[in-house]
């Protein structure tokens, strides 16, 4: 990450929560989606253009890179008998933070250790940044932060003021 700090809002995504039904394992659900298992801890998995972030025991946030009118019925067809699927496309705003200082910036708001030794690519943390509920995901190139959509402007205010100091 040697480039300049870049913060942008990711648009055009499709989101849904996936909650395993009683007795359904992360392996059962993963197999339905073509993975060996969905992550059993706060980590992510990806197949084709679909990502899963672990947000709690038996719960995941599913994120498709591109919204299509078949969402989230497409997920229901795959896993509707194994999990409860609810559309979250309008519920979260996703911000992309990359480049120099992205970690420093996030670390000034999040009280979880973002050191690459403990928060490497594929790590997920559901926490708060400046009292705003946030799900942080780390990949090879940077961080995604999902906040409740109605807090997007507050989150923008927060990173504008902090970015000035990074």
């Amino acid at each position: 990450m040697a480039e300049a700090l870049l913060i942008e809002q990711r648009k055009g995504l499709a989101l849904a929560s996936v909650m395993a039904r009683k007795g359904v394992s992360a392996q059962d659900l993963g197999k339905a989606f073509g993975l060996s298992a969905l992550p059993e801890g706060p980590r992510s998995a990806r197949i084709d253009s679909l990502s899963f972030w672990g947000t709690g025991p038996g719960t995941w946030l599913a994120i498709a890179d591109r919204f299509d009118p078949g969402w989230p019925q497409r997920l229901e067809q795959i896993a509707g008998r194994l999990a409860s699927i609810s559309d979250q496309t309008g519920s979260y705003a996703l911000f992309r933070l990359s480049g120099n200082g992205a970690r420093t910036l996030l670390q000034r708001g999040a009280a979880v250790d973002l050191d690459p030794q403990v928060f490497g690519p594929g790590s997920v943390a559901t926490t708060v940044i400046a009292h705003i509920g946030a799900i942080i995901h780390r990949d090879e190139a940077g961080y995604d932060v999902a906040v409740f959509r109605s807090y997007a402007e507050s989150f923008r205010d927060w990173y504008d003021s902090v970015a000035a100091t990074v």
Partner: protein
């Protein structure tokens, strides 16, 4: 104080809602309801207590905390504690 969530890892206690002693069980009928709602032991030593990880994985967890020094000796999901 940091609470060790079994799913999320160690987190600031501000992310949690405290609910107190995990021992009382809701009675079937009216008998014993007063005790269940109002009466609590006040032990000096290890106490199993409920914390809700509201700003994290949104799960109830059962934490064993020593009330004399706040040392936490364990934490499991409440749903597993009841098994």
């Amino acid at each position: 104080m940091r609470i060790p969530c079994p799913y999320c890892g160690e987190r600031n206690s501000g992310e949690f809602v405290y609910r107190g002693d995990a021992a009382p069980m809701r009675p079937e009928g009216a008998e014993g309801l007063f005790d269940y709602v109002y009466l609590r032991e006040n032990p000096a030593g290890p106490l199993r207590e409920h914390w809700y990880h509201a700003q994290g994985c949104r799960n109830w967890i059962e934490v064993t905390r020593d009330t004399r020094n706040h040392v936490i000796s364990g934490a499991i999901l409440a749903r597993e504690a009841r098994r």
